[in-house]
Amino acid sequence: MFAESTEAAGWFLENAWLIPLIPAVAFFLILGFGKRMPRGGSEIGIASMLASLVIAAGTAYQWVQRVDAPVAEGEHALARGSFGFARTFSEEAAEAGHEVAPVISTLDWFDIGRLHVSIGSHIDGLAVTLLLLVAFISTLVQIYSTEYVRGDRRYTHFFASITLFSAGMLTMVLAPNMLQFILGWEIMGLCSFLLIGHWWEETANSKAALKAFFTVRVGDMGLLVGTAALFALFGTMEIGEINEQAANFAGDNKGMLLFAAIALFIACIGKSGQFPLHTWLPDAMAGPTPVSSLLHSSTMVVAGVFLVARLYPVFHVGLDINVAGQSFNLIAVIGGITVLIAAGLAFVQDDIKKVLAYSTVSQLGYMMLGLGVGAWTGAVFHIFTHAFFKCALFLCAGSIAHTGSHHSFDMKKDMGGLRKKMPVTFVVWIVSTMALMGVPFFSGFFSKDEIIDSAKHNHYTVFYFVAIIGAAMTAAYMTRATYLTFFGKARGGAAHFVHGHDDAHDTHDAHADAHGHDAHGHDDHHAPAHHSAPLPFAKTDSSWQITVPLIILGVLAIFSGYLNAPALGIHWFEHMTESSIGAGSAMSVPPPPEFSWAAAAPGLLLVLAGFVVSLLISKAVFGEKKTALQGLTQRNSLLGAGHKFLVNKYYLDALYENVIVKAVAYPIARAAYWTNQHVLDGIVNAVGIGGKRTGELVYKYVDQGLVDGAVNGSGATARGAGGALQPVQSGKVNLYGALLFGAAAVGALVLVLVNS
């Protein structure tokens, strides 16, 4: 029955709506039957994600074919398929040689007045990229979760929520119109609430969930208003039409387009954790680690970036991006600020997940910055590569907590020296970190470098410097985190794991109780001995459900970058996605600059500098200082001759720590963090408290006092009048009768007088 349409665009391209539908159905199946399944519903979740992945892969394959072999003119016709699906192919977009029209399949949803709403799929390069990415990472994360949250008291709910979460993201990614987009966007918000608050027995977790939902919701206000403005402006909800009209915008109502762009961007600030609404993101670490990795790699937080990329013509034209002479615009400024402040904050975190959280915020800043300077391909490609290595990093953190550090995420207290015992985790971490830093020939390099290059090339000089300084900071804080986690002396929970693994387990458990780090609600906590089998070549590492996804992601952290490596002359990804923003229309996005090592050199040098400096400081502060302090007496007795040298070294430590770190790095980062915690968070809290106070005041005085007072006042007036007339109400029937007749007589008299 799909024969007709198959000829037109390909089965997968036209039935891509199945990709979100499968996990959405799976969500209900898990809720309904999950508890009765042998594996608590996780098998339904994983199966649905695999099915989505297969279809997404098929879609991607057919999309590649479609791009490589442009369809003939005649096929861009309106075709009506089965199930009442109206398949429309945008005809205008198919003129130029490499122009590839999106494949849009829609089903009418409803009409109210002039609002026509449909659901379906809008498949183009951008959507295909994200579909594949989300389905792929969701699958891996779910496999990982089977081990990570095993035995959790809400195991089934966890899988239900995470499946629905992926469904929400997928719904949003292939949305052909703004309403479906909002639908997916809000479903994600709901699921993030459920997942971050997964262990809601603890107030901190439920508060983090509330904060996440609420902060994002503040941004959503912009989404609603922006959509309304676009609808009023263009009279349509269809994303394709909005883009086309925005790209060719010639009306005199430019202010409205600017307004819509700003409103929508506010939504992106909330969702993508941009300054100043980024504060929910680190708190969101209260959720289980697989959730963090999914939220922070390919879903939720990239939704905001995706919105800008999806409606790029609206922003590009609305904000005059790339118009000659422009060196600042809202998106670039917000992106740039976010890059720097988040990177700064990442320096002072002890919690490994918070380092990664701030890193995510910072990288999202890069994406926004890229979109702000006209580097559309670079930004989208950064979404793509970032997803792999950031997901890998979070899963590494989870793996460490799960196996190595006894469910603690504190790098200073419970980690260190883990590289030997957890080789897989270590290698994947290192590879991903290098990708994140932007080391050449790792994936992050290709995407980040294109953003940096474009900033310079498109005359956004300030942001060029912001970007390379940010790159150096990234290198530095990741070096610090890596050092604290894997090098140096094993501490706390890690010490137990590294040194005491062959010992009896009773000390292990006693240790756990003493430290009380098991704050994440693992009900029936299980010793590593009860884990599933690890991989044969890394027996002390986490079990295979954790390490296999890690290895896959690690490999991709290197190789995903080669889909678009300007340094090697590869522009395949660009070729596949460029039609998504309607190239060839009146809107002109500058082409990405030619790659040259000379242009990339300053950035790379700064990254190297960041790495070296950070390594030295980390070694001094976190490594040697402790040995110096702890081993002072020991060495006094053993190595009297070397004492002076040690003292000197200690002196250096003091120099580093007291002068450089304490005087420079710490105050600045602390100030930023303080600003974050007190000023911005303070504002959020103050707004909340202020709202409540205002509410209370309004309630107390206006509502209960004034408005109600007026009502009660009229009652009192009536009562007063009644009081004055009280003597009349003697209760004597005869008197009533007399009054009645008297009144009637007076009435009659009046009547007679009036009529005569």
């Binding site: 007045g113 809000e186 919701r217 509410g695």
Partner: protein
């Protein structure tokens, strides 16, 4: 007008009264019989409603169907005219559904001080009043039904209510009566003015909607504005709109659960329905002048209601205040005078009825179990009553306008519409200020944020966390395992058990409806849209 099966609407409207008649002969002590007869009557009424639903011609939903007109009180030219179109249909059916569900819920939830028979009789009388209001096609008939609703509700609050019931019921009654009095004056003025208009044969004048629909628009604008004012106050009190809302929190808080549910689900809609059905189409020239005022008050109501919610310490009162905010969205939609806005408002009315009704049900059941609704004292509901907790969460999410659930389709299209209200060149009655409405839109969107704030705050405080010490060790154990705490012999709070059978029966249809209308909003939009267009066409807008 389609004049087929003319008996149908009268049957649906007055069938409950037959039940009342039967119940009068049941001895007071025989509670089961009284409940049985009442429930059977309500179900029979619903069956008539479903038959109406089946017989309704959806291709002509803009026309009045099952239309019938008869002489009623000839001297004052009032007629007995009833009919049903796409605007009334959802509300008419909703009132029947809610009555049945409330009765099911009441089966083992008759509030103090008992007297089951009277309680059920009142509900049946209410049902007649509500259904009658939605089918009446004559102003006097409308007014009678509108007022019939008042008395049973007064008694329901005054007799079966909370500690402060006397005050609340009296306030409710006087407030609404005050509005109704002005409304009646306006109705009569409308009649007199249209009757005495030049070129009109006074003998033709009557109180049927059709007459006003044809002649109301010819009234001079200044006169029309004053007539509209009376109607505005009458309906605004009922909605309730800021600043006429202060009866609502008291009435809701003091009313028994059943009263709150009916109040939220149906009674509030009488006001908005009045705007859509009477005030706006009959007096379009005044509506255009009044719309900005309505819009501003609606938006104030949205923000004000949300702020009020944030200040509450009592769960039921919070839900009551949230009604003010939600009805603000409905009124904002209506005030745009566009097809989109009024459709959104009508959808919002039904959605609010389903969702807030459901929230009041949950609040009632929580109160019954914990004997308190103080948010501070409640905690960890998800541990003690997981199902109840999830239902509360579901309703909170629906209420804050999550797409895919019914609440969203009342809110979002209203925002869309208010960004782009009735405006343009050459409109017969003029347009509205676009700038003002765009400002209102932004403020209204802020209201959605606040809605998320108070609802999630409520949910976080009551459902999440550990069970508070006060209620710990009762009912379910702290980890929500299988021990169903059904032993009622323990201390005060030993009856904390999860959702029971009657509650399931009463709630499931509402929960399903919230999802179904959220996923397939066209079920309602398609029915309402033609009828709404008929109203908005006269304004000449888009």
């Amino acid at each position: 007008m389609i004049q087929e099966q003319q008996w149908l609407l009268s049957l649906g409207t007055f069938l409950p009264l037959v039940g009342v008649l039967v119940m009068l002969f049941i001895p007071k002590k025989d509670e089961v019989a009284a409940k049985g007869v009442a429930l059977v009557t309500a179900i029979a009424t619903l069956a008539v409603g479903i038959y109406t639903l089946v017989q309704f011609d959806y291709d002509q939903s803009e026309k009045l169907q099952f239309f019938t007109t008869n002489k009623w009180i000839t001297p004052i030219k009032a007629t007995y005219t009833v009919g049903l179109d796409g605007i009334s249909l959802p509300l008419y059916i909703l009132s029947m559904v809610i009555t049945v569900l409330v009765m099911v819920y009441s089966w083992n939830h008759v509030p103090e001080p008992g007297n089951t028979k009277a309680f059920f009789i009142l509900m049946l009388v209410l049902q007649t009043g509500m259904a009658g209001t939605f089918v009446a096609q004559d102003l006097i008939l409308f007014f009678v039904f509108f007022e019939v609703v008042l008395l049973p509700m007064y008694f329901m609050i005054g007799v079966w209510g909370g500690e402060n019931r006397q005050y609340a019921s009296l306030k409710f009654f006087l407030y609404t009566m005050f509005g109704s009095a002005l409304m009646l004056v306006s109705f009569i003025a409308l009649f007199v003015v249209t009757k005495n208009a030049p070129g009109v044969n006074p003998d033709d004048a009557n109180f049927s909607f059709q007459w006003f629909d044809e002649h109301g628009r010819d009234i001079a604008r200044d006169t029309a504005i004053w007539i509209f004012a009376g109607m505005f106050i009458g309906f605004a009190v009922k909605v309730p709109m800021f600043p006429f809302h202060t009866w609502l929190p008291d009435a809701h808080t003091q009313a028994p659960t059943q009263g709150s549910v009916i109040l939220a689900a149906i009674l509030l809609k009488l006001g908005t329905y009045g705007f859509v059905r009477i005030a706006i189409p009959f007096l379009p020239q005044a509506a255009v002048k009044w719309a900005p005022i309505i819009g501003v008050l609606a938006v104030i109501g949205i923000i004000y209601g949300a702020l009020g919610c944030l200040a509450q310490t009592d769960m039921k009162r919070l839900i009551a205040f949230s009604s003010v905010a939600h009805m603000g969205f409905v009124m904002l939609g209506i005030s745009t005078l566009t097809d989109l806005g009024i459709s959104a408002a009508l959808f919002g009315m039904v959605a609010h009825g389903l969702i807030t009704g459901m929230l009041f049900f949950v609040a009632g059941s929580v109160k019954e179990r914990y004997h308190t609704l103080e948010i501070k004292r409640l905690s960890g509901m998800l541990l003690q009553m997981p199902k109840m907790g999830w239902i509360l969460g579901f309703c909170a999410m629906a209420s804050l306008g999550l797409p895919g659930l019914a609440g969203f389709w009342g809110e979002f299209p209203a925002i869309l519409a208010s960004w782009d209200p009735l405006s343009g060149e050459g409109l017969p009655y003029g347009g509205l200020s676009v700038g003002l409405y765009q400002g209102l839109t932004i403020v209204a969107a802020l209201g959605t944020v606040l809605a998320a704030g108070y609802l999630l705050w409520l949910y976080q405080r009551t459902a999440f966390g550990e069970v508070s010490a006060e209620f710990a060790g009762t009912g379910h154990d702290a980890h929500g395992h299988d021990s169903h705490g059904h032993d009622a012999h323990g201390d005060d709070h030993s009856d904390i058990h999860d959702v029971n059978t009657f509650e399931w029966i009463a709630w499931t249809p509402l929960l399903i409806a919230i999802v179904v209308f959220g996923v397939v909003p066209s079920l309602m939009f398609d029915v309402m849209d033609p009828a709404v267009s008929l109203i908005t066409d006269r304004f000449g807008g888009k």
